[in-house]
Amino acid sequence: MTDIAPENMGDGTTVTRLRHHSPERRARTAKRFAAERRFKYLGLSAVLLAAAFLVLLLWTVVGNALPAFTAHYVKVPLDLTTEKLTKENAADFNYRKIVRAGFGGLFPDVKKRREKRSLNKLVSSGAAIAARWEVSDNLDWVGTKAEVLLPLSDTADLYFKDLLGDLSRPESERTISDKEIAWLKELDEQGRIERTWNTIFFSNGASRESEMAGIWGAVVGSFLTLIVTLALSFPVGVAGAIYLEEFAPKNRLTDLIEVNINNLAAVPSIVFGLLGLGIFINGVDFGWFTLGGGSPRSAALTGGMVLALMTLPTMIIASRAAIKSVPPSIREAALGVGASKIQTVFHHVLPLAMPGVLTGSIIGMARALGETAPLLMIGMVAFIVDIPGSLSDPATVLPVQIYMWADFPEIGFQQKTAAATLILLGFLVLMNGLAVVLRSKFERRW
């Protein structure tokens, strides 16, 4: 690594030879290396920043969501001996009075009307419904006195979860009064309070009471909607891709179609919602006949059709890319041994392209699962309590449920919002994971 001094050539001239290790050269090399390092660290810090945001997001969502997965229940003695209640009408009976009497009976000292009112507010206003579920599941309770677990109100539940903020503040600045705290403590001492897995959250539809609100309606709605989307966009998308890739002549028309498909993939999703409202629900009136129209508002069917329109371009592009990646030699070999064009496509090209097609479809479906904007136009952003039983029933979807809960004023909905977000993220990870597995398992490299 020594530098070479100027060399005397013997005839009075000196020559300086540039060597790899001349100081200038070394300085330049060091500079280039430094630039490389800087760029590497810049890239790394970008990745770390992105990861930090992701961790922060997950941290807050998970932290907020966890309390929503459990709920506090109170064990209330219910007097089910009334004559009006029979095994036949147990599923329709109004248990409101029985619940009130049972819960009030735990505090025989509370007599004043106003006090009774605030006492009754400790139990969920959905307790009567919960009692109906419990009794219709345990019909032999009818005619006896039974201890039944009923949901507490959101305030009481949040009190036990210690989510009501600083309780040492003056009473007027809290959502829970001293008296209510005393009652809850008494119940706790009697061993009547139980914290269990929040089954209501996983089995119920929407509700205005946060303790009775559940995600199941939205999960079913999302499922029904996606079924419709898949059933429409997968066959049409794959068929379109096969035609464009294998059969279509190369001319201006197909070029135009191709450009349009690429453009459609980038169209904001709300536009598809407007299209859906115009064509599927209202119908386009041409005077002598009406195109479309008549689809039910707020239904999974209509939502699925709109989302299918939205996913179709993505589906076609992904399928075309997958079909294109199958080497021409496969087609030539098939045609060479006498297969027809359609046999070539269905026996050889499509099976080999399938992993790519499926990956593209799953990613398209995952995008459809996260959409709310197009559904806004067709009435799926709505408060829907009943769990949809068919495609034409009103339904809502997971992201819409999150959006609506985020807008409700009751504090209890903040945890529900986070919990629903977590569930939606879970489904998305699952779908993308499936895409990764399919790709790695079936993909062929040429």
């Binding site: 903020g165 205005r208 429409l232 629900i281 009435g379 985020a406």
Partner: protein
């Protein structure tokens, strides 16, 4: 592998095609047996609560409630008669004459039901800024242009103390709803307009040219002192907690639900309290309505029963469950007349 895979593909394609076929069939005529409600986002929390109780206590399906805004709801409602149109629309203001005319043209007979009051509050975080305002001061603080020495100039007030010496020396920062919101409409109409009338010059302008007056009175400043915070009131509450000097504009029900976090400015010496809004003493309050389509009664099952549930004392009375949600009930006599009119489906006349 290839062979079985291709079989699978055919199966998948056949299956999806069959599914698509059944889809097309289920679309065919399916009579609607569920009430559809659209309209105001302010009435939404109340309407949904009634819908849920109605679904639990009757044999009818739970109505579907959409939050489309008062104007959007009215547009859908007046679209015509038939299953494809909603049965009920909620509104945080009375139906406009133009809307009513459009309804009548399309053969819709609206029945009006007034359900209660809502107050609009100027809230801030507990421990933050506290204000005692008059309507004139609200106008001075938030209008785009205010009269100074007989001339309209761009609002020069930067601090609350610039508006009035009695107010704190704190920068004016107000988070409020965007122009698409009914809350914003009501706020400019109730607070800003009556504030503007306190100026002689503007009161004179109103007599001469109502439109020009409205243009001045309804213009909210755009220089950063008023920030449009979107329709999500929860977001406003969170922002207020982060910034103790900011003031937010939102409905009374949010103040009611977040009473441990928020406090509200008094207007003309009146706190936005349940009793004061009900008595009409708190000046920035408005009536809430829903309109039902008379033609759909008897066609879509359950509409009459839904009205009965809504106008029940346990629902909209002083101790009803809507009061727990922040609705301010009507006076008792009004409740009786309105419930009677609603029951007899008295058509709205304008």
């Amino acid at each position: 592998m290839t062979v079985s895979f291709s079989k699978n593909i055919k199966l998948t394609l056949a299956f999806t095609a069959a599914l698509a076929g059944t889809l097309a069939m289920t679309t065919a005529a399916h009579a609607r047996d569920q009430i559809q409600i659209v309209g105001s986002s302010t009435v939404f929390p109340f309407s949904t609560a009634v819908a849920e109780t109605f679904g639990q206590n009757t044999k009818f399906k739970t109505p579907v409630v959409e939050s489309t805004g008062s104007g959007g709801g009215m547009k859908l409602f007046c679209e015509g008669v038939g299953e494809a149109t909603p049965d009920i629309t909620n509104s945080s203001r009375r139906i406009k004459e133009s809307e009513f005319r459009r309804c009548v043209e399309k053969g819709v007979t609206p029945v009006e039901v007034k359900i209660g009051f809502d107050g609009i509050v100027l809230g801030s975080a507990k421990g933050g800024i506290t204000l005692a305002l008059t309507q004139e001061q609200i106008f001075r603080a938030l209008a785009k242009q205010i009269p100074v020495d007989g001339k309209l100039v761009a609002n020069p007030n930067k601090m609350w103390s610039d508006v009035d010496a009695s107010l704190p020396n704190v920068k004016i920062e107000v988070l409020g709803p965007p122009p698409t919101s009914g809350t914003r409409d009501a706020f400019v109409e109730l607070a800003m307009e009556s504030g503007a009338l306190k100026f002689e010059m503007l009161a004179a302008l109103r007599k001469e040219d109502k439109k020009a007056f409205k243009k001045v009175a309804h213009a909210v400043r755009e220089d950063g002192a008023y920030v449009e915070a979107g329709e999500n009131d929860n977001l406003i509450v969170q922002k207020l907690e982060a910034n103790k000097n900011a003031v937010g504009i939102f409905g009374f029900s949010f103040l009611d639900q977040n009473s441990e976090k928020l406090t509200a400015a008094t207007v003309e010496g009146n706190e936005p309290e349940f009793e004061k809004i009900a008595a009409g003493e708190y000046p920035i309050s408005r009536s809430l309505f829903f309109y039902l389509k008379k033609e759909h009664v008897g066609v879509i099952p359950g509409i009459e029963e839904f009205i009965a549930e809504f106008t029940n004392e346990d629902t909209w009375g002083e101790e009803g469950y809507l009061a727990d949600k922040g609705l301010i009930p009507l006076p008792e006599e009004d409740r009786e007349t309105i419930a009677g009119d609603a029951k007899s489906l008295k058509p709205l006349a304008m």
